[in-house]
Subunit: 104 residues, 2 copies
């Protein structure tokens, strides 16, 4: 299951921290490691998990590998969350209604 990978990836605080850093701007693995008390292999493994979950994308640039947030993963979470919109605060529900009007 794809959702398994996404939620499992985000269950680790270190991985969420990495993701948060990437959300502020794309970076390579070394830059990500700055100020994070984490070994190089650990970072590589975390990035592999995030990538496998569709939360992060990679792009080789010479001998660096640049990572950035993959909207696909976030979209899946939003989609999952939308299934339970009945339980969201009324304010968010009202927003949904407006969205539908906008689409028409």
């Amino acid at each position: 299951m794809v959702e398994d990978d996404i939620f499992r990836a985000l269950a680790d605080p270190t991985r969420r921290a990495i993701f948060e850093k990437l959300a502020a701007g794309s970076m390579n693995a070394s830059a990500l490691r700055q100020g994070m008390a984490i070994s190089q292999p650990a970072m590589s493994q975390h990035l592999a998990v995030l990538r496998g979950a569709g939360l992060v994308r990679e792009a080789r640039q010479g001998r660096f590998v640049n990572y950035d947030v993959d909207p696909a993963g976030l979209a899946l979470i939003a989609q999952w969350l939308a299934k339970y919109r009945a339980y969201w605060p009324a304010r968010v529900d009202a927003l949904e209604a407006v969205l539908k009007e906008m689409d028409q």
Copy 2:
């Protein structure tokens, strides 16, 4: 961390299935077990995890315990997700703008 609990709770497919069932309507543990090939202790343990994450609430009713979706947990996910709205599809972003107008 609260988010640890939430994402960890949802990382398990069985727990997501339980949550999905509860989203369709509140139920006691026995009813939840119907058609789920899961032992009574396992169900109890899963519900404890979901409850600990703020995704589910319980209410004693005689010798039954009724469970239902706790909006608090979902709200936290929505809040977490909102931090990365920059990466959502443009359509959702437009929606956010409308919401702000509505609030004023």
